[in-house]
Amino acid sequence: MRPMQDYPPEPMPISARKSPIKLPWNSFGLMAVLLALILFFGVMSEYFFSAITFRTLINQVPALTVIAVGMTFVLLIAGIDLSVGSVMALCAAVMGVLIADSQMPIAIAVIGALLMGLVCGSVNGFVTAKWRIPSFVVTLGMLEIARGGAYLVTNSETKYLGDSVGFIGAPIAGLGVSVSLLAAIFVVLFAQWVLSKTLFGRYMIAIGTNEEAVRLSGVNPIFWKVLVFALAGLLAGLGGVFQLGYLQTADPNSGIGLELAAIAAVVIGGTSLSGGRGSVVNSFLGVLIIAVLQTGLAQLGVSEPSKRIITGLVIVAAVLFDQFREPLGRLLRRS
């Protein structure tokens, strides 16, 4: 072997020399936005800091939260899942029928709902990954199929379950928060842990960044992609359980448009639609921002049409901000 030579150092690119200043578009930035919204509505409306507001929030938030967690994973691998709203309704319907018609214990009904979600998600994932069909199309199909399934299961009727499932959504005495909210927060923290600490999380980011490079490095991306869609389905099923606990009815019409709310929350949280970058905790903050915005606007007496327009503007502003954060960062650094 020849003796090692000395190599002149290569010039470092300028971008690598300074660590780039990050705008507060991380968790802290989102928390600041959330806090500002809460303060704004607190000042503008005398009713905002009240038990009713809190009750409304904790009732609405859990289902959207767990679905947004699944959506974060799907967007991370550069996919999309449009079926979650329908799958949630189908799973709630299965659970409702198991309790109301088949007299099953609640635990069995919950398992039935989760299994239903897992099956729907696995089908999404398998068709998408195995046959390389865009997930947009596959899950659009599943959106219709699951909705039809929900009508079939319930015979197109709303099932009233009464108080038996109410404990899922009702605040625990003395603690003030519901079982479902606690469970949703646990899911968020666990999913964030999976994303940042485990092999699965690393593979998701890698697949979203460069799927061909993953394959050429000897890792089969198909397995992991199916797993991600299956999880999104499972979490939609969990969302269905939470929804059922809150409404105490299984309504085959529930969750229409929920997939868009979930995508909006995830995007506000800064997850990239083209894959490879995202955070579960930030998606949760996105869910809270949307929920606070809607509740607050309602209390201010803003009409439903105006509420939707404002929410839409917030979504676009969030993505615009995300798009231009690097040039903005340079601008701030210069001044």
Partner: protein
């Protein structure tokens, strides 16, 4: 004597390294001028500068007696300089006619006049022997060869603007003429650049193309013709210019040129000791064979009958040896590596591994399978197929080993990962600020070393490197070449594809040369010279002996 149509004086151009240095070139009107040279000699760069894609660093141009400095492809086309590129610039879902008249297909209201462009398209297609093609057919339904002819036809129809637009067919045509004579419309063709136009064509199609080129000559149009096929050049060209290392070596009449002389000119005189740096294996027979590639083939046939891939390649990789793979770009080198690695599955033939005692024929079905058998591959295009650009230096290096750094709960041992990455960075002299900085912020050379580190971190016995030093600076290049020798020295079998003959000579013990999908020979010892390698790389282009056989 007439003045030349195009005169290039003292042209220089650098990208990361100098590509053209002080190059002179002349093209006469009505002349077909062939350009030849090995990979990286500067042919494409010269043509890209002539037609305005790149700007020259220095040097002057004269076009038809006027100073000429094109600012863009459009500016060059406005003067009548057009180029048919190797990569087709066509739209598969649009019709043939719409492709032919892409910029002039609509009238002034923006409505596409299908009747008018259809008629004009039929005429243009007849000129290149595609009379049986329906102009309304989507282009994607045509084979690659036919598509190539459509591209040529779309350039050629600009050469005959008058006879076409004056034979007025109707009001639509006069609109078309109005648009065609607008400020941004290309003027009549004066200079045509053809880059490997016959690569995907069949013999009758080539005959038709040459007929068309003959017609252009008679109209006084100058043609620059890039090709590797000497027998075609001797049929069509008047003069031939040979480029080497970014400079013009010779311009001669085609009649005075033969293959031996051409190869000699392309190779030039290289100081032997310059590439004799590598410690060559005194006797390779001493080294154990690790992998036998037997009659491996993978041929992909396009609709028109053109082929890509490689046929019946048999080679042996030995422990402790660097086997270089040379040949022209597109000769099947990358495809061969990808099939050994399982990135694409080979169609015929097999691999035999020393670990199976060579008695089990295998085909790699996936990269994962190849890796489990101890084979790793550095991809040709690091950004598209190798790196996770937004990922950290650390995660890019550790990727293939991530599973072994994971405990039963799925938790990645981050400190062990960082330790591994640090060790590799140190070993390969990768320069970085932080393990967590995105790999996209590194220089090209450090990016490449990061990707190499991913493979060296594994203990694989067979390493396939595809263009390991492409697009890296000189110091990183030297380091990577050393690394390759070091890997052989510790007993690995290394296969290196490179477009630089000098590099192959420097680092390889033996060099296999691919030519038009075939293995043209394996050279070692006294046979290992630039002339031999170049001559071999042209071998199967000279007849129908390559992929089409």
């Amino acid at each position: 004597m007439n003045q030349p149509l195009l005169r290039v004086t003292g042209l220089s151009k650098s990208f990361t390294a100098p590509v053209l240095t002080n190059l002179d070139f002349e093209l006469n009107p009505g002349e077909v001028h062939a350009l030849m040279g090995s990979n990286g000699a500067g042919k494409s760069t010269l043509c890209n500068i002539i037609c305005g894609i790149h700007a020259a660093d220095s040097g002057s141009f004269e076009f038809a007696g006027q100073p000429y400095a094109p600012s863009s492809l459009q500016a060059a086309e406005a003067l009548g300089i057009c180029m048919v590129m190797q990569e087709l610039n066509l739209f598969g879902t649009l019709s043939v006619a719409e492709n032919l008249f892409f910029r002039t297909m609509a009238d002034r209201f923006g409505i596409v006049r299908h009747d008018s462009i259809g008629r004009r398209a039929e005429e243009a297609l007849r000129g290149v022997g595609l009379a049986n093609i329906d102009p309304a057919q989507p282009l994607a339904e045509l084979g690659v060869g036919q598509q190539q002819l459509v591209e040529i036809a779309s350039v050629l129809q600009r050469a005959l603007p008058d006879e076409r637009t004056t034979t007025s067919i109707g009001p639509a045509t006069s609109h078309a003429r109005l648009r065609a004579s607008g400020p941004d419309a290309p003027r009549a063709l004066k200079l045509l650049i053809l880059d490997e136009p016959t690569a995907a064509l069949t013999d009758p199609q080539i005959d038709l193309l040459f007929e068309q080129i003959g017609r252009l000559k008679r109209q006084g149009i100058g043609v620059v013709y890039i090709s590797h096929r000497m027998h075609e050049i001797s049929r069509i060209a008047d003069r031939i210019s040979i480029l080497r290392d970014g400079g013009l070596v010779a311009t001669e009449a085609v009649a005075d040129m033969n293959v031996d002389r051409m190869v000699g000119l392309m190779a030039g005189e290289v100081a032997k000791d310059e590439y004799a740096l590598a410690p060559k294996m005194p006797d390779q027979q001493d080294h154990a064979v690790l992998l036998k590639v037997e009659n491996l083939s993978r041929r992909v046939t396009s609709r028109s009958g053109g082929h890509t891939g490689f046929l019946d390649v048999s080679i042996e990789l030995r422990a402790g040896e660097v086997l270089g793979v040379g040949g022209l770009i597109g000769s099947g080198r990358t495809e061969l590596l990808r099939s050994i690695f399982g990135a694409d599955v080979a169609h015929r033939g097999c691999l035999r591994l020393a670990s199976d005692k060579f008695d089990r024929p295998r085909l790699m079905g996936s990269p994962a399978e190849a890796i489990s058998q101890g084979i790793g591959m550095l991809v040709e295009d690091r950004k598209a197929q190798g790196l996770f650009l937004t990922g950290s230096v650390c995660s890019n290096i550790s990727f293939t080993l991530l599973e072994t750094l994971t405990n039963r709960l799925g938790l990645v041992d981050v400190s062990a990962e960082e330790q591994l990455a640090l060790t590799m960075c140190d070993k390969l002299s990768i320069q970085f600020d932080s393990m967590q900085q995105p790999v996209s912020s590194l220089s090209g050379g450090n990016q490449q070393k990061t990707l190499i580190a991913r493979w060296l971190a594994n203990d694989l016995s067979i390493l396939l490197f595809d263009e390991p030093t492409r697009g890296v600076d000189a110091s990183a290049k030297a380091r990577i070449q050393d690394l390759i020798r070091e890997q052989a020295a510790i007993g690995k079998a290394v296969l290196v594809v490179s477009s630089e003959t000098q590099e192959l000579l420097k680092i390889s013990d033996r060099v296999a040369v691919m030519s038009n999908g075939r293995l043209a020979g394996i050279f070692s010892g006294p046979d290992l010279s630039e002339e031999e390698l170049l001559a071999a790389s042209f071998r199967f282009y000279a007849s129908d002996a390559g992929l089409s056989a």
